[in-house]
Amino acid sequence: MTIPTLQGLQTSLSGLLAEQTALDTTGNNIANADTEGYSRQTALLEPNTPLSIPAISGHTGEGAQLGTGVTVATITRIRNVYLDAQYRTQNTSLSAAKTQAETLVLAQTAFNEPSSAGIATQLSNFWTAWNELAKSPNNEAAQQGVISAGTQLTSAFNELSAQLETISSQATEQYNSLTGPSGEVEGDANQLAQLNGQIKLAEEAGQPPNDMLDRRDLLLDKLSGMASVTVTELPDHTDTVTFGDAAKPLVEGTTVNWPQTLTEAAGGQLGALLNLTGPKGQLTALRTSLDEVASTLASSVNNHLAKQFFSGETAATLAVAVVEPSEVQASGSKSAGGNEVALEIAALRGGEAEQSYGALVEKVGSDVRSAKDDQTTLQSTLTAIGDLRQGVSGVSLDEEMTNLITFQRGYQASARTLTAMDSMLETLIEHTGVVGL
C-alpha cells in the first residue's frame, strides 16, 4: 500500500478542524466565565487512527505507521465530584446554622434587653410601685400606680409571648411553603427529573451534554441548602438523589417522590426550621421558660395577698385581676395605714422571678452567640471548599487567553502546512511532465 497523495491535505485539514473546535471551546469558556455553576470545558484531542505502511523492501525494510492527524474525541467538563459532595455537605450545615442564627436573632430582638423597653424595667417599676404604696397605703393615686405598673408588666409579657409565637409560626409557614405544592423543593425536584431524562438520552447518543450536567449540579447545590442530599450516579447517567431523611429518594431517574415527611434530622434549612419549632427546639424552650417566669411572678406575688393580683399561668394569659384601686391591699388588716404586705411584695425585687428572667435573657444571648459563631466558622469552611472547586472548574481568563494563543498558533501552523502541501501538489500537478507544453 502506498501513501495516498492527498493524505497530507486531509491531515492538515483535521488539524485545522480540531484547532477550530478547541478555539470554539475556549471561546465558550470565556463567554461563560461569569456564569453561575459553569464548569470549564476542554476539547480532548486524540490522534486519528494511523495508516499502516508496510515495508517497502521485502527483506530489510521495516513498516511504519503514519499518523493521519487529530480528532476531537470529546468535549469534557472539568469537575471534581468529591469536591462537589464535600461542598454540598458543608452547605447543608451552613444553611442550618444560618437559619438558626437568623431566627434566634429575631427572638432576641423581641426581648429588647438590655433597654428601658424590656420586661426587666417593667418588673423594676412594678416593685417600685408597691414601695410607693407602702409609704401611703390608702392613697388612691398610689393604688392606681400599682395597677398601672402591673398592667404594663403583664402587657410586656403578653407581647413578648405573642412575638415569639409569631416567629415560631413564621418558621412553620416557611417550612410549609418550601415543601408544599409548588414549593421550591417540588420545583427543583421536577427540574432534576427532567434533566435526568434529557441527560440520559444525550449520553446514549454519545454526546455528553455539558451545560445540562452543569445545570443539574447547580440544582443539587441549591437542594443541599435545604436538606442534606446524597447523589448517586447510575450507569445510565441519571442521578438518584436522597433528600434529608425522607423514606424514598426524592428523584429516581425521571420519577419524583414528593411530598414526603421530614424530621429534624433532615439537616439544612428545613431541618433547622423543624428543629427550632419542635419539642426540643430552642424557640420552644424559650417560650416555655418565659411561661415559667410569668407563673413564678404570679404565684410569688399572689402568695402574699388574700385577693389575687395576677391571673393567668402563662406569659400569654398573664393579666391583672384587680380592677378598682381600692382592691389593692397594702396590708392584711383593714386599717388604712397598714403596709406590711406592700413592703413584703416590694421586697420581692431580686427574687426568684427576676432571677429566672435574667437567666432567660442570658440563655437567649448565648444561643444567638453560638449560632452566629457556628455560622461564621461554617461559612469560612464553605468558602474554602468553594474556592477549591472554583480552582478546578472555574474559568481562569489568563489560562483561556493562553489557550487562545496556543490554538490560534496551532491553526495558523496547520494552515501553513496546508499551504505547503498545496504548493507541493501544485508543483506535482502543474509542473511535472509538462515537457514540450
Binding site: 436573632v105 432576641q108 430582638t109 426581648f111 434587653e113 438590655p114 424590656g118 426587666a120 424595667t121 418588673l123 423594676s124 417599676n125 416593685w127 417600685t128 414601695n131 407602702a134 409609704k135 401611703s136 397605703p137 390608702n138 392613697n139 396590708s331 388588716s333 386599717s335 388604712a336 395605714g337 397598714g338 403596709n339 406590711e340 413592703l343 416590694a346 421586697a347 425585687r349 431580686g350 427576676e354 432571677q355 428572667y357 435574667g358 437567666a359 435573657v361 442570658e362 440563655k363 437567649v364 444571648g365 448565648s366 444567638v368 452567640r369 452566629k372 468558602t383 468553594g386 474556592d387 472554583q390 480552582g391 472555574g394 481568563l397 489568563d398 487567553m401 493562553t402 494563543i405
Partner: protein, 297 residues
C-alpha cells in the same frame, strides 16, 4: 476567585467597623444579649438593684420627715405640759382665790385641747399618731371626747434589704383615754387637775401640789421617753441613708464597668479598623484590575 475573597474580606472588615461605630455612638459595649450573655443578665440585675436602692433612699427620707413631724409635735406638747406644770405649781401655793383658780383651770383646759391638736398632726395626709389607722384622727376636740381612736399597730419604712425602721409613735401610751378611764396618763391627769382647780375644796387644793404634780411629772417622763424613741428612729434612718449612698456608689461603679464603653480604647480601635479598611479597599482596587488581558495584543 480573587474578587470573591477580596469582597468577603472587605465585608467582614466593614462589619467590625460598623460594630465599633455602634459602640462609640451608644457608649455601651453590650448592645444585645449575644454581645455578652452573662454581662447582659448582670446589667439587668444591677439596674434593678440601683432602682431598689433609690427606693430605699426615698423611703428613708420619707421616714425622716415623718419622724420630724412627730418630734416637733411632741416638742410642742412638751412646752404645753411644762406650762401646765408652772400653772399647777402656782395654783398650789395657796395665794390664789377661787376666781384665779378658775382662770387657771380654763387656761389648762385650752392647753389640753392644744395638746390634742398636736396629737392630731398629719404628715402627707396621714395622722402620724394613730398607729395604722392613719385616716382617723387619734383624738377628737372637746372635753368629753378623750378616747384614743387609733390603734397600737406600727408603721414601718423599708430602708434596706430586710431592714425596716418603725416610724410610728404610740401616743396613747402618753395621752391615754382621758378621765373616764382613770389610767393616770396625761389627759387623765390634766382633766383631774382641772377638776381639782374648779372644786374649790381643800383636798382638791392639797392634791394639786402632791398627787397631781407627781402624776404630771411621771407623764412628762413618759413624753421624753417617746421623744427619745423618735430621735433614735431618726438616727437609724439617717444611718441607713449614709449606708445606702455608699452601696449606690459601688453598684453604679459595677454597672459602669460591665456595660460602659472604654471610650479611649475603642476610639483607637476604631481608627485602626478604619485605616485597615481603607488599605484593603486600595489593595483590592489595584489587584483586581490587572489581568493578562492588559498585556496581550
Amino acid at each position: 476567585m480573587v474578587t470573591s475573597s477580596t469582597l468577603s474580606d472587605l465585608n467582614s472588615s466593614l462589619a467590625s467597623l460598623e460594630r465599633t461605630t455602634d459602640e462609640l455612638s451608644s457608649g455601651k459595649t453590650i448592645l444585645e444579649p449575644s454581645d455578652n450573655p452573662y454581662g447582659a443578665s448582670r446589667v439587668i440585675d444591677l439596674q434593678s438593684q440601683l432602682e431598689g436602692l433609690s427606693n430605699y433612699e426615698s423611703d428613708a427620707q420619707d421616714g425622716i420627715s415623718w419622724e420630724n413631724t412627730a418630734s416637733s409635735a411632741m416638742s410642742s406638747m412638751n412646752e404645753v405640759a411644762q406650762r401646765v406644770r408652772e400653772l399647777v405649781v402656782e395654783s398650789a401655793n395657796g395665794t390664789n382665790n377661787q376666781g384665779d383658780l378658775n382662770t387657771i383651770a380654763t387656761e389648762i383646759e385650752q392647753l389640753t385641747e392644744s395638746i390634742k391638736q398636736d396629737a392630731n398632726t398629719q404628715y402627707a395626709g396621714q395622722y402620724v399618731f394613730s398607729g395604722t389607722e392613719t385616716t382617723t384622727p387619734p383624738y377628737e376636740q372637746g372635753a368629753e371626747k378623750d378616747e384614743f381612736k387609733g390603734n397600737t399597730e406600727t408603721v414601718a419604712r423599708a430602708v434596706g434589704p430586710g431592714g425596716t425602721v418603725t416610724v410610728s409613735t404610740n401616743i396613747s401610751s402618753l395621752l391615754g383615754n382621758g378621765e373616764a378611764s382613770k389610767d393616770g396618763k396625761l389627759l387623765d391627769t390634766l382633766r383631774t387637775i382641772v377638776g381639782h382647780l374648779r372644786s374649790g375644796t381643800a383636798e382638791g387644793k392639797e392634791a394639786l401640789g402632791t398627787t397631781d404634780l407627781t402624776n404630771l411629772d411621771t407623764n412628762l417622763e413618759a413624753l421624753s421617753q417617746l421623744q427619745a424613741v423618735a430621735g433614735s428612729a431618726t438616727d437609724q434612718l439617717k444611718a441607713a441613708l449614709t449606708r445606702n449612698e455608699d452601696v449606690q456608689t459601688s453598684v453604679t461603679e459595677a454597672l459602669s464597668n460591665t456595660e460602659d464603653t472604654n471610650v479611649a480604647a475603642v476610639s483607637i480601635q476604631y481608627a485602626n479598623e478604619q485605616a485597615a479598611y481603607e488599605a484593603a479597599l486600595r489593595a483590592g482596587a489595584s489587584i483586581v484590575q490587572e489581568s493578562l488581558l492588559n498585556f496581550l495584543q
